[in-house]
Symmetry: C2
């Protein structure tokens, strides 16, 4: 049973941009986010408040947040690694704060230099610093970890339960490295829905092995109606060279549209934004719909009038 | 309910190669097919017996068929457009013959210069020419046509019924241009299974808008257990510039393996074959698993021993 409506969280300006070695000019970042706003995306992960030493690409986070033109009804969310980041996010008037807790010790150490317990312990402090701004927790590496291998479903469900117990109703289950497959996704989503009903789960998918949209389909069938995706399929994976990034917003929106699922997203400005980035980076982005168009656009290229059988 | 086993028909040496403008040397074609045999593929569409004026890439079809090393248990199938092609296929000792009938008049005219009725009328003659060699019919453009637009499900089901009535138990439903979406695939497969039980349907999918594996997943859930795919995701679409080709054998085999579905295919020689082609063509092929590896291979790159939580 597919959902009637799917909400898309555009994470390209954070997850996609942070993988680029070339600094994307602040002007371009703002232009892209403004186009994404025009496209009608419900939530945009606009930047992250991290140390510029660790991720130089995000050094202009306050400026980006100050310069984007905000639309009523769009949530401009940011990623933070700690309380200081949350304070900076509040100062920048973010509408939402996201914090990542990895499902494995090894990756959490690598990611933020803390144990999972230390990251979990941050949640109340970040919630306090955020005040009225909703805090969402992302459980990273939920489907497998490049450092520890397979991740038990129990561990993810256990973390989700504890996070929910801290008053966090929105939890994103992240396949941060694109290691999940549809049967695994379905099992995870069904179990979370059964054991933790009433929470708002979303799914963050990477397309490393080409399974991105198949995983999204399996998740929708199992009850997920909120997905992260990135314009153009930007991004990559810090641990697997040659990996593509997030599922492309264009491809996900198109799949939903063709299946009769509303997203409220207009692909024209999304693709304009992707083309601006592709132009700047001087390379094609992975999105197939960006490259060839939607079904309706392909049909519109029909050369001849219909011939009757 | 997913199948326990999926059979894969490797169509790269025909559907993939025919899209390449540069003539692939016969030596390379033979080497690639021999590698695919080594990979354990149950059926390989090795070439097509068409006019070399129309498709120069297939001019060496008899030589390819004569030089490949055949394995017991592997079916070496060929595509033919007419009775003359079938006779040449018999002379070349093909194990199987495939004939395409398009679901739309406009595309069938463009493809073979005949009406759909004329193509359908060929089936008994091709069957007679084939003798003991099994003939399979591919219904092309089953999910949409670049010349006529949407294709009614009724038309495909009606053609399948008439083809079955001619004593053809194997029918391939082809999304020749990659226009299908999962809901459409599921509806088509469920209807064919309901109305024409006992036939052996397979699905031929292109990945034009990135929906290839999602469509394969939907088809499996609806009861299909045989798929065409092409090594490396070779190929394209004669009508949509920028389109990618068949779903990649590597990506489909990997998806099945991860979901616990047997294919009997060893990816090592498939990827060796893809790399040989990529090397010759001087460009990367679309397959993601070819680029980054399987889940197990990604895990094997684990840098550090597991850290206990």
């Amino acid at each position: 049973m597919l959902p009637e409506r799917v909400a898309i969280v555009e994470v390209g300006p954070r997850d996609g941009f942070q993988m680029e070695k070339t600094f994307l000019p602040t002007d371009l970042k703002v232009e892209v986010i403004d186009l994404l706003t025009k496209a009608g995306l419900a939530k945009i992960e606009a930047t992250s408040f991290v140390s510029p030493t660790v991720i130089p690409q995000m050094a202009d986070a306050p400026e980006v947040m100050a310069r984007i033109r905000r639309a009523r009804g769009t949530v401009y969310s940011v990623l933070v690694p700690n309380v200081k980041g949350a304070e900076r996010a509040v100062a920048a008037k973010a509408d939402g704060i996201r914090l990542v807790v990895c499902a494995t010790e090894a990756y959490n150490q690598r990611n933020v230099g803390m144990s999972v317990a230390e990251s979990m312990a941050l949640i109340p402090a970040i919630k306090a610093a955020a005040g009225a701004i909703p805090v969402e927790v992302v459980i990273g590496l939920s489907f497998g970890c490049p450092l520890e291998g397979a991740v038990p479903e129990d561990r993810v469900v256990g973390l989700a339960r504890r996070i929910a117990g801290m008053g966090i109703p929105e939890i994103s289950i992240a396949d941060s490295i694109g290691i999940a497959h549809p049967v695994q996704v379905r099992a995870m989503v069904e179990r979370l829905g059964r054991e933790l009903p009433g929470l708002q789960f979303s799914l963050h998918i990477h397309d490393t092995r080409g399974l991105g949209l198949a995983n999204a389909l399996a998740a929708m069938e199992a009850g997920i109606d909120t997905f992260d995706s990135g314009l153009g399929g930007l991004g990559g994976c810090p641990v697997f060279p040659g990996a593509t990034g997030n599922i492309a917003t264009e491809d996900l929106v198109n799949m939903c549209a063709e299946m009769g699922i509303e997203t409220g997203v207009d692909l024209v400005p999304v693709r304009e934004a992707s083309r601006r980035i592709a132009e700047f980076l001087g390379r094609a982005l992975p999105s197939r719909v960006l490259a060839v168009g939607t079904r309706e656009e392909l049909y519109r290229r029909i050369e001849k009038p219909a011939v009757q059988a």
